[in-house]
């Protein structure tokens, strides 16, 4: 892949893809950076080739139909023939161009992915054409799940899904959501999803007021102290009443 590196840097510059995202705030030394596993790249290649096979099949059918028409069909009046040839040329060009562009994007998309976590927050960056950077604090995380399909299992990867509170609607009004549920973050294609899950979960538990609700619910965490003090207060008040009744 000798052409790859120069083309990559040129494309990144042309598309103005920003470099690695800055780290979210957190305690020093708590930063962990996860990347998509090599299996994810293979998985994406497979999906890409499947899609390309379909596109190629479509193009072959279109070309075959034209050739068949020329060979066995009735004669076509002059402009029609040229138009048909032009259309076929356009189809071939589109198929070729999107193949190379798509192949590049698969590789770039794999390389331009970062999943960062500190003790307070996580930041996920993905995308090449549309760059999406998401920041979520652990205090706002509601639930974690691992998703794995049969193909992903074959490649030894899984997606870790992190959700914050709020509607999981399809975003069907689609105005600003780009068809993406903004309350959900994905660690896509990691090969140690369970480990990452446990780690995120551990940090989640440390965020004492995690989940939805007003922060003053944290008062309950004063728990034992609070109850024992109240008990003492009651005993003292009772003693005072006894003393005054004597």
């Amino acid at each position: 892949m000798t052409v790859y590196e120069p083309t990559k840097s040129r494309l990144l510059r042309l598309l103005r893809v920003p470099p690695e995202p800055t780290d979210p705030l957190g305690a020093d030394g708590s930063l962990l950076v996860f990347r998509a596993a090599p299996g994810y790249l293979r998985y994406r290649w497979l999906l890409f080739l499947l899609r390309q096979a379909i596109a190629l099949g479509g193009a072959a059918v279109a070309l075959g139909a034209t050739v068949g028409l020329f060979a066995f069909g009735p004669p076509i009046p002059p402009p029609g023939e040229t138009i048909l040839v032009l259309v076929d040329c356009a189809v071939v060009t589109v198929v070729v161009v999107q193949f190379f562009l798509g192949a590049f994007t698969v590789r770039l998309d794999y390389e331009m992915r970062w999943y960062k976590a500190t003790d307070r927050a996580l930041r996920i960056r993905e995308g090449v054409w549309i760059v999406r950077e998401m920041t979520m604090t652990f205090a706002n995380v509601q639930n974690l799940s691992i998703e794995q399909g049969p193909l992903q299992r074959y490649f030894g990867i899984a997606d870790l899904k992190v959700q914050s509170a709020g509607g999981g609607g399809s975003g069907s009004d689609g105005k600003r959501g780009h068809g993406v549920d903004l309350h959900t973050a994905y660690f896509r294609g990691v090969d140690n999803a369970e480990q990452v899950r446990d780690l995120v979960y551990a940090r989640l538990q440390k965020a004492k007021d995690a989940g939805l609700g007003d922060p003053d619910e944290a008062r309950a965490t004063a728990g034992d102290d609070f109850t024992s003090l109240l008990r003492e207060l009651r005993d003292e008040a009772a003693a005072l009443r006894r003393a005054s009744a004597d």
């Binding site: 920003p18 549309i130 706002n140 709020g166 509607g167 944290a218 609070f226 003693a239």
Partner: protein, 165 residues
């Protein structure tokens, strides 16, 4: 970037109008409808950052104003397409826990989007150590007050018993 500079932001950058123009051109025949809408949207768009939250308003016939507090922000998305990056812009989608899957507020046309993102991030829930201030501090204060009440009651009882004796 200095938070004061962010608190002072009240208008999107003029490049946003350029972006709108290009988008309107790409919308083809809808240009005639899209362009005036976007033009008014750009010219009526106002931001106000204060100590508690942000408000954003736009619209001329149908006016809209969105206000949210920093502490209720759930997650922040920084999204940029190729066109926006060429212009040096990005969208900040801000989400609270309300029922929609789409953003509650989209800050557009900010050149200093990264600084604004970090500004919001440092003020959202869970970004700081809440053990040192906020709710935990309030709980500590409650405990201290209760201890004081216990002391006062004990003092009152002892005074009463001494008076009897």
């Amino acid at each position: 970037m200095d938070p004061k500079a962010i608190l002072a932001i009240d208008r999107p950058h003029p490049r946003l109008m350029k972006l709108y123009l290009v988008r309107a051109v790409f919308s083809g025949p809808a240009l005639l409808v899209a362009l005036p809408i976007l033009w008014f949207r750009y010219h009526t768009m106002r931001y106000r950052f204060d100590e508690e939250g942000i408000s954003m308003s736009w619209g001329i016939l149908f006016r809209r104003e969105v206000k949210l507090t920093y502490a209720r922000i759930q997650d922040i998305h920084l999204v940029s397409g190729v066109l926006q990056r060429w212009l040096g812009l990005a969208d900040l989608h801000i989400q609270t826990a309300s029922g929609s899957a789409t953003a509650e507020m989209t800050l557009e046309g900010l050149l200093e989007f990264e600084a604004v993102r970090d500004f919001l991030y440092s003020r959202m829930r869970g970004a700081r150590d809440s053990a040192k201030h906020g709710p935990a501090a309030a709980a500590d204060e409650t405990l201290a007050l209760l201890r004081e009440i216990v002391r006062e009651l004990r003092g009152a009882r002892e005074a009463l018993e001494r008076g009897r004796a």
